[in-house]
Amino acid sequence: MSAYLARRALSGAIVILAVAAVTFGLLRLVPGGPFTSEKDLPPQVLENLNARYGLDDPLPVQLGRVLIGVPTLDFGNSMKFRERSVREVLAQVGPVSLHLGLQAFAIALVLGLGVGFVSAWRRAERGRAGTGDQALQALVTVGIALPSFVVGGILIYLFAFQWPVLPPARWEGPLHTILPSLTLAAAPAAYIARLSRSSLLDTLSEPFVRTARAKGLTELAVVVRHAIPGALYTVITVLGPLLAALVTGSFIVELIFGIPGMGRFFVTSVTDRDYTVILGITVLYTAVIVGANLIVDLLYALVDPRVRVGEQGGESA
């Protein structure tokens, strides 16, 4: 197990360094730089700025500095927010996106699994799709199809204007987190619901479920103890990337609700060619994806006893 973890950590570190190096290269290829502005700067002023931010060093030196900074996310100061280091910026925006993302993830998981499993169970009990099941399916389809700015707009209209019980924007306290979390969770919840429903329906027709029923177990025990763990395996597969996507910030949701998170910051940093911040967020994003995928792999072992991590080949059935 520990050897497996070490191997995964090493490969993860290589991936993160490679992503940092490629991002550094791409940033230098994109036209326009951090100090390109409407007001053209005299050469001397530009030289002073480049010297201040180390952009006058040879590219290999700059790349070396970036790679050394990867483990500690130390990429120097932001080139737009000049008095703030990248670490300070990430420490400011990261926890906001993490909070919002985890809250949305929890909502998506509870709603998605709840709707998916209940829908599948009712479908299996009846042997055909009932009205309630069809309505849930329709809701799931709408949830997947509607873009987050529409969902957000509807929620703001309902809960900030029609029944003004929730704040429509900003990030000031627990109440302010409700609408953006629901907006962010809508599509993933719908996706998880669809996936868990089909997965549970498939599992319910497996021979081991029939065996469990034949043993005289109650239907609830069959579903909860035997079918659902099997169905979760498929759902877990998507949770890693989903968690990574949610906790690293959503540009649209953060923009609509005026949330000071990482997604909004990342997009504006690209527009501003804020090299250091772009690198910082990209490295953090990569680390989250690598970490989330590792957690998912470990979860497989918990859910499905046939999976063993740490054996030859990393994992085997």
């Binding site: 036209p31 007001k39 703001i156 019980v165 929730l166 704040p167 005026g258």
Partner: protein, 534 residues
């Protein structure tokens, strides 16, 4: 069965009661409006509150509420005293001697001294500071050499013979030097504060200011708050606290305004699509800005290397269309020095005259637009730039019979393109850094990096220098008239379209809010009428 129905009904009733209770609790928890504080939207995080390094209007909007300088840009464009109670000009305009107010204090009670200005001006020119606006201070003696690292900062032409006397020595007489002292980059700085806190000196509790407000809170990317500065020498802010939110999305900001959670809105928060909805409101205001919008022309590439073609294009534009399509109150103009600035002259420039336009194009060899090559007008990606380009394209087609293709690019890619390979035509704008025509006319000198159209005129270059040094207002005005005629009529190097206007609106309970022509947000003038608040 009836029992089951009763049971289900009771459950539903309990569920409804629980839902209603939850909604009530949520509503009670949600405090919609705090009293005694003026709230505005800043739109984004200010990139820098260090006024030696700040470059953008968002940062300057914050700084202008916290700090005052030697002078300020007053009503009608006048330069009025602030920390400097008086000044005299000596040595034929090469030396300015300012006398500072005795009662000017920093927020910690210490007097504002001439040494604070000396430190500030030396710091902005120190190459290690990396200030983008250092070049504006090149009017001071030795400034350029200091910024190039050739001389020590102590050799700068600024000194403080005593605490209340500041002497500025210039490289050459400069008529716009006083207007420079209205600009935030020239404001005084506390050496002890900067050296003690390093880069963190702009954080709340560390930043010492000398203006109406002090910075009391800064949750980055989210909210910023000011409190009254008890040592400010000017009139105290009618509302002792101010809050700036950082909501970039206009629709979201409008939602907060409609709910009464924002007191004032400026152009950066007010969506142009919403303007018709608010323009009949008594608190809606249109404020002309010292900012111009123009189309540049690359005069080195055919067919625009022929001045007749350039003039034809300028004459073919009916500028009255812009306020209609942009839904603001843009002020159409064919002249370049903006309205509200010294030497503004609306009679200059090539006016809408389609007959003359067609005649000029025919004279250039393209009668009725026949044989005119394909040309491209380029702009950076934004809805309003696209609308303007489409309107121009239609007018050139209708009035000249020529087909102009339009193309857009991402902002930094567009700027890179202008720098390295300027297209035949391109949109551009300019806002005043300091309220003087020099700031608008020196853009198009042959040595200016902002002159993207590659136009050169030796007479123009010489006259720009001369006008900057001329201290007689009438002579100076005449020089700017001549400069504008060379630029816009004789050589038609650029085509001005309109002056930008800021649209603002304030709640019925927020009085005294008026944006300045330099787009500054003076929250320290807003008075909240509590009785009118919801």
């Amino acid at each position: 069965m009836p029992q089951q129905t009763d049971h289900a009904g009771a459950s539903r009733a309990r569920l409804r009661a629980l839902l209603a209770l939850t909604l009530l609790l949520l509503a009670a928890c949600h405090d919609r409006r705090e009293r005694g504080i003026v709230i505005a939207n800043l739109s984004t995080e200010p990139p820098n509150l260090d006024w030696s390094r700040a470059t953008d209007h968002v940062s300057f909007n914050v700084i202008s509420n916290l700090m005052v300088g030697l002078t300020e840009f007053g009503e009608g464009g006048a330069i009025t005293p602030m920390v400097a109670e008086s000044w005299r000009i000596e040595d034929e305009g090469r030396r300015y001697v300012f006398t500072l107010r005795e009662d000017a204090r920093w927020s910690d009670g210490r007097p504002v001294t001439a040494a604070d200005f000396v430190y500030s001006w030396q710091r902005i020119l120190d190459p290690a500071t990396g200030s983008e606006y250092a070049y504006l201070m090149y009017v001071l003696r030795n400034a350029r050499a200091i910024n190039e690292g050739k001389l020590p900062v102590e050799s700068l032409g600024v000194s403080a013979p005593d605490a209340r006397t500041l002497v500025a020595e210039l490289e050459a007489p400069s008529a716009f030097f006083l207007s420079l002292t209205t600009f935030e980059i020239t404001f005084p700085l506390r050496r002890d504060v900067v050296e003690k806190h390093g880069a963190a000196w702009t954080e709340p509790g560390k930043l010492i200011s000398n203006g109406p407000y002090v910075l009391t809170r800064w949750d980055h990317e989210s909210v910023m708050e000011f409190g009254a500065n008890p040592h400010y020498f000017g009139p105290a802010a009618p509302t002792p606290r101010a809050r700036l939110l950082m909501i970039p999305e206009k629709t979201t900001a409008m939602t907060l305004y409609d709910r009464g959670e924002l007191d004032v809105m400026d152009n950066h928060s007010l969506d142009p699509l919403d303007i018709p909805q608010y323009e009949n409101d008594p608190r809606f205001e249109r404020v002309p800005q010292l900012r111009g919008y123009y189309y540049g022309i690359n005069v080195s590439r055919p067919p625009f290397d022929d001045v007749r073609v350039r003039r034809a294009f300028a004459h073919a534009i009916d500028r009255s269309i812009f306020p209609k399509i942009l839904r603001g109150s843009e002020w159409p103009t064919s002249s370049w020095i903006p309205k509200g600035m010294f030497a503004f002259n609306e009679d200059i420039g090539l006016k809408f005259d389609p007959d003359k336009a067609r005649a000029l194009l025919a004279e250039a060899g393209y009668p009725g637009g026949k044989g005119f090559p394909t040309v491209t007008a380029m702009f950076n990606t934004a809805e309003h730039h696209a609308l303007i380009a489409q309107a121009l394209q239609a007018q050139w087609r209708e009035n000249l019979g020529v087909e102009v293709s339009i193309a857009n690019m991402e902002w930094k890619v567009f700027l890179d393109k202008l720098q390295n390979d300027p297209p035949q035509m391109f949109r551009m704008g300019w806002g005043a850094d300091y309220p003087d025509p020099d700031n608008f006319m020196n853009l198009f000198t042959s040595y200016s990096g902002n002159n993207k159209g590659r136009w050169k005129n030796a007479r123009y270059d010489a006259l720009v220098e001369q006008a900057a040094r001329e201290l007689d207002p009438q002579k100076r005005r005449d020089m700017y008239d001549e400069l504008q005629r060379i630029l816009l009529e004789d050589d038609a190097a650029i085509i001005p379209l309109f002056n930008v206007t800021e649209n603002t609106i304030a709640q019925p309970w927020a009085e005294g809010f008026h944006l300045s022509a330099m787009a500054r947000l003076p929250l320290y003038r807003v008075r909240l009428i509590e009785e009118k608040m919801p």
